[in-house]
Symmetry: C2
Subunit: 212 residues, 2 copies
């Protein structure tokens, strides 16, 4: 048994509940302790998102940390290298072929969908929802079993999503996943900066995990 | 005085009131008598629009006739050369710089906005609304005066839009505009094919207009 370090990346997903200025302010506060911020404010216009991206750039947020939801065109125009393609949006395969330089993510809900995402050229997937969450009320959470199967059989990086609170992180680390994606736990928290600190401490701390 | 021919191009704009299959069926029926079809079905997902574009391609609609509303990324992925950028969407200037091969349109409501569109690199504009229309209830129609000013002072191609019925076309021809854009007059008509025929006959017929 080795004493090892298991890090989880933190992908913070916006909750579409803040104004552009509020959102920029929150992101600037949490920026140093997250690995990516996934801009998923569906109710905002493209023009508003341009303004948000300008505020983030002025505030020093690196473009490599920003993931845009759905709007590949906005990513191309603003020089954002990461795009998350939702199920109702552009298919992964032609985006991979046409824009090989983009880092492409998508959401999957099964081992089968994860295989398809890998085959089509996704760079990573969000898998969930793992635990009960207000965003998916009435739907049975998937737990960690299938996630572990995905990680055992595929090379695809996976971020666990759905109801992930800091107390769940020890368990999630055992699934060998690359990271976690958190929306309401961060952006709907009373104090997003303190919330991120709790995730950060659990995601980045040393553990006694057995490394095989 | 010469006997001349003043043609107006017909740009048919979808009204977001039909299913994908219904819409494809209508477009295939009117295709030969229109110059462009502007896909502006905002409530449809990108995945549905991909399906629509596939149906149009199967039906033989040339890509050069299709204009996509807002979604530049979809246009790039599907090889559609025309994009209409709404006011809340991507700004014209960076799209022109990054994608010089695209034919870019936008909507303007004044001479000033038309000047900005020309400066930023738009290939054409829609100007309106010219006449009263259900889409712009309570807003005073602009008439043809400012349109004539735009056409006198700028080189920018302009399509007149808003409440344009076939009986208005003789008047519109005098404004020296390149064409007309019609939504409900075509797509909300009981028989879109017959409706287009009426526009077509007026837009493409020979006239006794004096050519200077």
């Amino acid at each position: 048994m080795k004493i090892g370090v298991v890090h989880l990346e933190i992908l913070a997903i916006t909750d579409d509940r803040h104004s552009v200025k509020e959102l920029a302010s929150i992101i600037l506060k949490i920026n140093k302790r997250i690995d990516y911020v996934h801009i998923r404010d569906k109710s905002k216009s493209v023009r508003e998102l341009v303004f948000l991206l300008e505020l983030l750039e002025e505030g020093g947020v690196e473009k490599r940390k920003i993931v845009l939801h759905d709007r590949l065109d906005l990513a191309l125009i603003m020089g954002i290298p990461n795009i998350h393609l939702p199920g109702h949006g552009l298919p992964v395969k032609p985006v991979r072929e046409r824009f090989p330089f983009m880092r492409i993510g998508c959401s999957v809900h099964s081992f089968k969908e994860a295989c398809e995402a890998e085959r089509d050229g996704a760079n990573y997937v969000l898998y969930g929802h793992i635990y009960e969450t207000n965003c998916k009320q009435g739907k049975t959470p998937k737990g960690l079993k299938e996630l572990q199967e995905i990680k055992m059989k595929l090379d695809l990086p996976v971020y666990a999503i759905g109801g992930i609170t800091p107390d769940k992180l020890a368990e999630i680390k055992k699934a060998n996943t690359e990271g976690i994606a958190v929306m309401s736990g961060i952006f709907s928290a009373k104090n997003p900066e303190e919330a991120v600190l709790q995730y950060f401490q659990m995601c980045k701390e040393k553990t006694n995990e057995q490394l095989l």
